[in-house]
């Protein structure tokens, strides 16, 4: 091992390929699906589904592993973050199955994604009164014979509409077996699309990422097979994080994998704004002089250098968290660092870009204002800025969740 910033040839090839998709398939329709919220981008969905099922071609040989996954996410979100979330895939639901499921469960829920018509997976955690505090979940599950019966309402479920209505898809639902057990009672259940009792009752109208469906799902005596529980059914009243239970712990572990990806997605949106801004400045004859003495630097140059430094810091923190997964190291601290940094940085960068671009930035003729709206979600979902600060703080202080709330 050695410190290196040289991407593997594979990563370079993947970056090129996904950048091309971003330019050709996403940017041209980005505004359309921002304005036509809740409309399925059918052509794009079909293109990505087929692309995903064609042989990988030249992508063999040494790879940057999980860093390459981050690079892909960055490129596609440079194209359009809302459309990226619309790509048919098991998504976060798939991560949960992969992290906590048995081999049989992985085969049953993930294999259908290999062929046939486009499908989606989704993860339903959030409730009206339970966001970052997942242990406050009110949705219940109880066993009746050979079936789990789910009752409750889930909000802010990304791709919840697609995952619950298209055959072969599924929603991973977090529910409690025993409210008195707190986190130890929380389990995750796989609910296949079109299961009776799972109802789509609403779609959110959002500030940004409007191409992505964000659903409210109601579970009313929703029955699923006993075999759809991820992890064990045992309720541990002790600290579940140390109890070796694959349920809550497994579900939380999916965040260690998903946060670097969300951070990479954020970096993609930030880069979209920064690339555009630099292009406009260059067209206007304004170049960024990196070695100019401080007194000669214009305010614009200073702003752009600041944006570049912040974005690159976020990107490198993201890659570091991803690389630790490849090395099999626990990356929970680093994943939260990356997510906290990237979410905040791209929120600021995109707002600054709108500011510097002036009337061009504020107008809907260009995408800058859209990137600003899209960027903000990165500071919120998959753990807000504050919850990630809390996780980082606990780790650097060596405090438990009860010592630092």
């Amino acid at each position: 091992m050695a410190i290196s910033f040289e991407p593997a040839p594979n990563t370079v090839a993947a970056k090129e390929m996904y950048n091309r998709i971003a330019r050709e398939q996403m940017r041209p329709v980005a505004r359309k699906y921002d304005e036509q919220e809740h409309e399925m981008p059918l052509e794009f969905v079909r293109f990505m589904w087929e692309k995903g099922r064609s042989p990988p071609g030249s992508f063999t040989g040494p790879s940057d592993g999980f860093v390459q996954v981050c690079v892909q996410a960055e490129e596609l979100c440079w194209g359009d973050a809302g459309l990226y979330l619309r790509i048919p895939s098991p998504a976060l639901g798939g991560s949960a199955v992969a992290a906590a499921g048995t081999n049989e469960q992985k085969a049953r829920f993930l294999n259908p994604f290999r062929d046939g018509a486009p499908k989606w997976g989704a993860m339903a955690i959030t409730e009206a009164a339970a966001g970052s505090d997942a242990a406050a979940i009110q949705t219940t599950a109880h066993l009746e014979g050979e079936e789990w019966v789910l009752n409750g309402t889930k909000i802010f479920c990304t791709s919840g509409e697609a995952a619950s209505t298209f055959d072969g898809g599924f929603v991973v639902v977090w529910a409690t077996l025993d409210k008195s057990a707190g986190r130890g009672g929380i389990k995750s259940f796989v609910v296949p699309a079109k299961t009776p009792g799972m109802k789509l009752v609403g779609l959110e109208r959002k500030l940004g990422i409007r191409a992505s469906d964000t659903a409210t799902l109601v579970f009313e005596n929703c029955r699923i097979p006993k075999e759809n529980l991820l992890g064990s059914a045992e309720v541990k009243k002790a600290n579940p994080m140390q109890a070796g239970d694959k349920g809550f712990k497994g579900a939380m572990a999916t965040f260690d994998a998903s946060r670097p990806i969300v951070a990479a997605m954020a970096v993609g949106v930030g880069r979209a704004a920064l690339d555009f801004l630099k292009g406009e400045l260059e067209r206007e004859g304004v170049s960024i002089r990196y070695d100019a003495p401080a007194h000669e630097r214009t305010a614009i140059e200073r702003d752009v250098i600041d944006m570049e430094a912040e974005l690159q810091a976020a990107r490198l923190l993201t890659w570091r968290a991803a690389k630790m997964m490849d090395h099999g190291k626990r990356n929970n601290l680093e994943a939260s660092m990356a997510k906290a940094k990237a979410g905040l940085v791209v929120t600021k960068i995109t707002q600054k870009a709108v500011e510097i671009l002036g009337p061009l930035g504020y107008s809907q003729k260009l995408l800058a204002e859209k990137w600003m709206r899209d960027a903000k979600i990165n500071d919120i979902y998959e753990g807000t800025q504050q919850i990630n600060q809390l996780i980082v703080a606990r780790r650097i202080l060596d405090y438990s969740s009860s010592m630092l709330r």
Binding site: M1, A2, I3, S4, F5, E6, P7, A8, T11, P62, S63, D64, V67, Y290, D291, P293, A294, H295, E296, I305, D306, E308, A309, E310, Q312, A313, A314, L316, L317, W319, R320, K323, H327, E334, M337, A340, K341, Q386, Q389, L390, V392, A393, R394, I396, L397, Y399, M403, L404
Partner: protein
């Protein structure tokens, strides 16, 4: 392939230097700052560890392990101990590395084996000028050819000027292009006055005046006839990476003191670290420090690859100077009144960190 793990050898260097920084540099830091004087014994010990000489060519008795990444790793650890002492430990790089990279055969022979020798020998670089409009690539100090000699005129400041400095690398414009010249400390026409600064007080720095200083043409960096414009650019980039790494080290030192204090200090029956206002501030510090470190590594790596690192070095320095200042200020704030008194180190970290926007090339990687 992308990776962020130091090699085994680098990790060994990091561990060794960190231990030295903690046990010897840190312990001497406060007294050195108060006395505005360097602890000579610590500098000799650092020399014995081979912090600088390991990077010099083997042909002249060095370790032959030149790497900007390794240099950045070591600089962070030294500055984690104390910035002023770190810069003194690293001051030989100011003369030795430009000579190793760009010197003539004769210059290498004359100097490098001495820097790799038994005794610590400080180095010096005169780059910054006492003017608001200073531009390192277009210095106001001039070098004019006169027969077999150059005549140097101008004023410099922030020149490391330790006891034992034998020569200084002066950056001056020859026909508008920045070039380096090796000037002996006792050259006629050269005078120095010790400066008093906000921070890095233990490191003697001088304002330097060159009034018709004559050096043989062969004392130009690279020898007579060399064109040194690219050498000065390289010195600037390497200096910025070193500064970025040092800034990360200062920030880490301040952060750790604030973190440990916050866990000790009780208010209303609980450590202040259990309050989100403090805990989140500490979390942000940790995130920013790691981000700045990765930027410094990237710029250093690019230098090692032999590619143009101007942008990366500028970005790393830009980020690290901001982070060091914010973290040091945050540490003073976390300690409250205790952060303001000289019994604790954060007030010194704040004074030192403020300098990173002013410093240029106070050490090289």
């Amino acid at each position: 392939m992308i990776d962020f793990e130091p090699s085994e050898e680098q990790q060994l260097i990091v561990d060794t230097v960190r231990q030295f920084a903690t046990n010897e540099i840190r312990k001497a830091a406060r007294e050195a700052d108060e006395a505005a004087a360097l602890p000579a014994a610590v500098l000799e010990r650092a020399h014995e560890l081979g912090v600088v000489s390991s990077a010099l060519p083997e042909a002249y008795g060095g370790g032959g392990a030149r790497s900007a990444v390794t240099g950045a790793l070591a600089a962070e650890e030294l500055a984690y101990g104390d910035l002023a002492i770190a810069l003194a430990v690293l001051s030989p790089t100011l003369l030795a590395l430009p000579i190793a990279d760009f010197g003539s055969a004769e210059q290498k022979k004359r100097w490098l084996s001495r820097f790799a020798g038994d005794r610590y020998l400080p180095g010096s670089l005169a780059l910054v000028e006492p003017a608001f409009r200073f531009d390192p690539l277009h210095p106001a100090t001039t070098a004019k050819r006169d027969g077999h000699e150059y005549v140097l005129d101008g004023a410099k400041c922030f020149v490391p000027w330790q006891d034992g400095v034998e020569a200084v690398l002066v950056i001056a414009a020859e026909d508008g292009e920045a070039q380096g010249f090796l000037v002996p400390r006792d050259a006629p026409g050269l005078s120095a006055a010790r400066e008093k600064n906000l921070g890095i007080r233990a490191l003697p720095t001088a304002e330097l005046w060159l009034r018709g200083v004559r050096v043989p043409a062969s004392e130009k960096l690279g020898g007579e006839g060399a064109r040194g414009d690219s050498a000065v650019r390289e010195i600037l980039n390497r200096g910025r990476v070193a500064l970025a790494a040092c800034a990360v080290g200062v920030a880490r030192a301040a952060f750790e003191i604030a973190r440990d204090y916050a866990k000790e200090r009780q208010t209303f029956g609980a450590p202040i670290a259990t309050r989100q206002a403090i805990a989140f501030k500490l979390a942000d510090m940790a995130i920013e420090i790691d981000g700045a470190r990765l930027l410094a590594w990237e710029a250093a790596w690019k230098i090692d690859e032999g590619r143009d690192a101007t942008r990366e070095a500028a970005i790393a320095r830009h980020q690290a100077q901001r982070v060091a200042l914010e973290v040091a200020d945050g540490a003073v704030q976390v300690l409250g009144g205790h952060g303001y008194i000289r019994e604790y180190l954060p007030e010194m970290h704040l004074r030192n960190a403020r300098g990173f926007c002013t410093f240029e090339a106070l050490s090289l990687v």
